[in-house]
């Protein structure tokens, strides 16, 4: 993923909606003679395309000791190998129970997640008992990206009924887009004009009987019409290859942002010929793949032998695609060969690709329990997307950590950013409610860099009569008298039904 700060995706992303339907009561449907015949004939062609029903728990970051709200939804999946069903990660995220339903078969089959990739919104499911599908032919995955203006078919179980649905459209655009499931990832996606509705998610998009993509997101009606997006074959194949070793290792990227060379003065200043080749490196994450290898003002001329145009595009099999596509198809430890223009000289740079996790600060969390420490009514939580949204924090220091955690490399100093998110009212903390939603700097003289630090600092009480908590910036220290804490903590736990003092994920 290469950041394009100027791209309009940021505003567009707010209009992106997941296409997973909210669970609705399912009425038993009696099949008529005619209906039976129809499903049977449909069944032959689409028997590998199944409905997925997911029961899940939505974690509660506002009240992190609570288990969260039971929820659910439905989507589509399809068989790509014996007992292996491909779907979207967002269809099965936070799942407690998964059920697969086959065309023309009322029987629910229990399934589980085999692999899940939140960064590219894909998941593989398997059945507990695969017998019912032993005669089903898996769908074959196509070889390449379909051409513009060619017809595709979207098959799935969208809202509006229980039966399988087929819509048809053409390939409208092939581009990098934001994958809204994680909120921080950009990958190749194909825009089609077939109707993609909630419930279609995870369903196959077919061309000439083969998989051309997985339907996964669209816009809400008020933003744009007739635009659905599918995850194309290269992303699917990369996912399948990644999990061959038994685990999913996530995407890797260059960890540098680029800026197009569209102004003649840029080329002149950098001593480049006026040949439309090359893109300028703007920012480099020093902890990422390109750290120490690339610098601001470098110009990338070629990537793995592919010439880079001044807008960052390369010619890949006759298609103009973003140069990021080269790194996109690679894995951790793979090499990337760059031809770099620096100080008016060309040099070859080889980069070993790795994953940069700092951007996860801004990503949505899944399959995770919210972490917290509660102490005498003071609730401490690590900063992340879900916590920030749940508490709707506007404090500028907190926002600064959130916005610049990766780009300003704040993660080097702060493995976690701990925020005093709320104060559960009690006599011990009655003057403290104005001090919530601020970054914790120190507890009992110990600097706070992780939630574990909070727990340790509170457990190892210093000499003196007080526990002292310092917040970043203006304000006064938060002071609790030791002699009051024991009774107050017990009282608060009981009144506010806080079952445990803390939850800290020891293996993050």
């Amino acid at each position: 993923m290469i950041l394009r700060s100027l791209s309009p995706l940021i505003c567009a992303a707010s209009g992106l909606l997941f296409v997973a339907a909210v669970a609705t009561p399912v009425r038993a449907q009696k099949s008529s003679e005619a209906g039976e015949e129809k499903t049977t004939s449909m069944g032959k062609q689409y028997e590998g395309i199944v409905r997925v029903e997911c029961a899940s728990i939505v974690p509660d970051y506002k009240t992190p000791w609570n288990p969260g709200l039971p929820s659910g939804g439905s989507g589509t999946a399809f068989m790509i190998a014996p007992n292996l069903f491909l779907t979207n990660a967002h269809v099965v995220s936070n799942a407690n129970r998964l059920i697969i339903k086959k065309v023309g078969d009322a029987q629910p089959y229990l399934a589980k997640i085999k692999f899940i990739a939140h960064d590219c919104d894909l998941a593989l499911l398997e059945l507990r008992k695969p017998d019912a599908f032993k005669d089903v032919t898996p769908l074959a995955i196509g070889d390449e990206i379909p051409k513009l203006d060619t017809t595709v078919k979207v098959v799935g179980y969208p809202i509006g009924g229980e039966r399988i649905s087929v819509t048809r459209g053409v390939v409208s655009r092939i581009d990098f887009v934001s994958y809204s499931h994680s909120g921080v990832d950009h990958h190749l996606a194909i825009q089609i004009d077939a109707a993609i509705n909630p419930g279609n998610s995870g369903g196959p998009v077919l061309q000439e009987g083969k998989i051309a993509g997985v339907a996964f997101q669209g816009y809400s009606g008020s933003v744009a019409q007739n635009t659905g997006y599918m995850i194309p074959v290269p992303v699917i194949k990369r996912f399948l290859k990644d999990v061959e070793d038994g685990k999913y290792d996530n995407y890797v990227d260059l960890s540098a942002s680029d800026f197009p060379l569209l102004n003649p003065a840029q080329r002149q200043a950098l001593g480049l010929p006026d040949d439309g080749v090359g893109i300028m490196i703007s920012t480099v994450d020093s902890s990422g793949s390109a750290g120490g290898k690339l610098q601001t003002g470098d110009v990338l001329l070629a990537i793995d032998g592919n010439k880079i145009a001044s807008n960052g595009f390369i010619d890949l099999n006759g298609e103009q695609v973003d140069m990021a596509e080269i790194a996109e198809r690679k894995f951790a430890g793979d090499k990337l060969k760059l031809s770099v223009w620096r100080d008016k000289k060309q040099l070859d740079v080889e980069i070993e690709l790795k994953r940069l996790t700092a951007y996860l600060m801004n990503a949505r969390n899944y399959e995770k329990r919210p972490e917290y420490v509660m102490f005498a009514g003071l609730v401490f939580q690590p900063l992340d997307f879900d916590m920030l949204s749940a508490h709707n924090i506007s404090n500028q220091r907190v926002r600064f950590y959130y916005n610049y955690y990766a780009t300003n490399e704040l993660f080097k100093e702060h493995p976690q950013v701990i925020v005093l998110t709320q104060v559960l009212p009690d006599s011990i903390n009655t003057y403290l409610k104005d001090y919530s939603q601020q970054v914790v700097e120190e507890i009992n003289g110990k600097p706070i860099k992780t939630l574990k630090d909070v727990e340790t600092a509170l457990q190892n009480e210093p000499a003196g009569d007080h526990v002292v908590i310092k917040l970043e910036g203006e304000g006064r220290p938060i002071v609790l008298e030791k002699k009051l804490i024991g009774a107050a903590h017990k009282r608060i736990k009981q009144k506010y039904d806080v079952k445990n003092d803390s939850f800290i994920n020891d293996a993050p």
């Binding site: 102004n263 920012t283 601001t296």
Partner: protein, 491 residues
């Protein structure tokens, strides 16, 4: 000897009765003031906004001066004084204006002739007490005076016109009906000007009044012709009501005192050596309670800010007693004023346009609060600009006097490819660190090999602009296409 004494007594009696007869009224002591204002457009800084004419009322003071609020006189382009009854007008100009205390005096532009004949200047009342009966003076459309009663209920500190500048404010209740053209209403107590009405809530029938004490302080300051303004304290505080905090600070339990949670750089407090963590026990001889208030006699409890931004003059020394490291300490604090124009992000800007520079369609500006504008606009502003307004010390530590940023791009040949950039903080231009717009103006005179190198704190970090083409765009495209003839304002 006797006779002489008698005569003098007789004279005294005579003048007493004359005065009683001539107690000032709206007719004798108020003038209509018509002011046309035209500020600058902070987003298109080479042009002014639409002119706007407002009518208000001014109080006539000694020396043919007319007192109005600064808000009425802001960015004035043309001012008229008008007699309500006859409709006779003369042109006027601003003599002194202080936007923080929201007051301005107007004087005739030319010799007034007999314009003020028969008029009576108002004295200032500085001894109003709660329960006093005030009168709000207005004119009907036809010029006849209207007086409505208000009862002074309480005093407090509040903002006048400029955010975050808190002054003594009177609250008074009563039904005020706004007459036509009544922006700024003089409030009178026993025939003396006791304040200017700042705002009125018709729903609650509550008026906020700028009191006579502040008016007198403003006039006294202006007396020598050199207006200095109000000093500032420069601390942020939090209460010490929390007993746990008090025991931690070893503060005696019933002894008041307010906790200093921040000391602003270059303020009176910082220069005097006050520190974050001090507890202010006394200020100017007054005991400060645990919420930062003091006993202000007739006015009840008032915020201690009234002791520093009330009657105190610049250069005056106030005694501060603080609690530090478990013991009391006396500090002499010389009251200083921080010029708003010395701040990284200017809190307000009137009577002059924002500083900017256009370089081949790239519009650079110095960040100011008026640029950030309304809360609604702020929500869409680039985060770093908002962050800078609240954490100026981080940017000042780098050596900046002002925050120069790229605010917009007017597409032209020299800025091709940069059209969508905006809201970026400039660090260097042609390898020179940019401390303010003047530094930028100097830096753009020295392109490197015919090319301007412009660096930003964030993505895309650096852009290049052809110097000759930018010059051509400045000379041709800007005036001809965008009709911009003023390409920079440095002062």
């Amino acid at each position: 000897m006797k006779r002489f004494l008698l005569t003098t007594l007789g004279c005294a009696a005579l003048s007493q009765s004359l005065l009683a007869d001539a107690l000032p009224t709206a007719d004798t002591s108020l003038l209509r003031v018509n002011i046309t204002s035209q500020g600058w457009n902070f987003y298109v800084p080479w042009q002014k906004v639409n002119p706007n004419t407002r009518r208000g009322l001014g109080a006539l003071l000694e020396g043919n001066r007319v007192l109005v609020t600064a808000e009425l006189a802001q960015d004035a382009t043309y001012i008229e004084l008008e007699q309500a009854d006859t409709g006779r007008k003369i042109s006027a100009k601003v003599e002194f204006i202080d936007y923080e205390c929201d007051l301005a005096t107007l004087v005739p532009l030319d010799a007034p002739g007999d314009f003020f004949e028969g008029k009576k200047p108002l004295q200032i009342d500085t001894s109003a007490k709660p329960k006093d009966k005030f009168a709000v003076w207005q004119f009907e459309n036809n010029g006849s005076p209207v007086s409505t009663p208000l009862e002074f209920t309480r005093a407090d500190l509040g903002e006048y016109f400029i955010d975050n500048e808190r002054f003594l404010t009177f609250e008074a209740t009563g039904p005020v009906q706004y007459r036509a053209g009544t922006f700024t209403l003089p409030v009178v107590n026993n025939g003396k000007l006791t304040g200017m009405l700042l705002s009125y809530s018709a729903k609650d029938q509550v008026a906020q009044i700028l009191p006579g004490k502040i008016i007198q302080r403003f006039l006294d300051d202006a007396k020598d012709g050199n207006y200095e303004g109000f000093p500032g304290f420069g601390v942020k505080t939090s209460s010490t009501l929390d007993r746990q905090l008090r025991s931690y600070l070893k503060l005696p339990d019933n002894d008041g005192g307010v906790y200093v949670s921040a000391v602003l750089p270059n303020s009176s407090a910082e220069k005097a050596g006050l520190k974050k963590g001090d507890v202010i026990l006394e200020l100017g001889g007054k005991k400060i309670d645990s919420r930062g208030n003091y006993d202000a006699g007739d006015y009840g409890l008032l915020g201690m800010g009234n002791l520093t931004k009330g009657s105190a003059k610049i250069g005056e020394v106030l005694k501060v007693k603080v609690w530090r490291d478990g013991a009391a300490l006396d500090i002499d604090m010389t009251m200083l004023r921080q010029d708003p124009s010395s701040k990284l992000v200017e809190p307000y800007m009137f009577d002059r346009g924002p500083r900017f520079l256009v370089l081949g369609g790239l519009l650079f500006q110095e960040l100011s609060e008026p640029y950030l504008g309304s809360d609604e606009r702020r929500e869409r502003a680039p985060f770093m600009l908002l962050y800078a307004t609240q954490n100026p010390e981080k940017f000042q530590a780098e050596g900046r006097k002002k925050l120069v940023f790229l605010s917009a791009i007017l597409p032209a040949e020299s800025n091709q490819g940069y059209e969508r950039m905006n809201g970026l903080i400039v660090t260097k231009v042609n390898n020179q660190f940019i401390t303010d717009i003047k530094a930028l103006d100097e830096a753009v005179k020295q392109p490197i090999d015919g090319i301007h190198k412009i660096e930003f704190s964030e993505f895309p970090k650096v852009i290049y602009v052809d110097a000759a083409q930018a010059q051509k765009d400045n000379e041709e495209t800007m005036p001809q296409r965008y009709r911009i003839t003023t390409l920079k304002r440095l002062d």
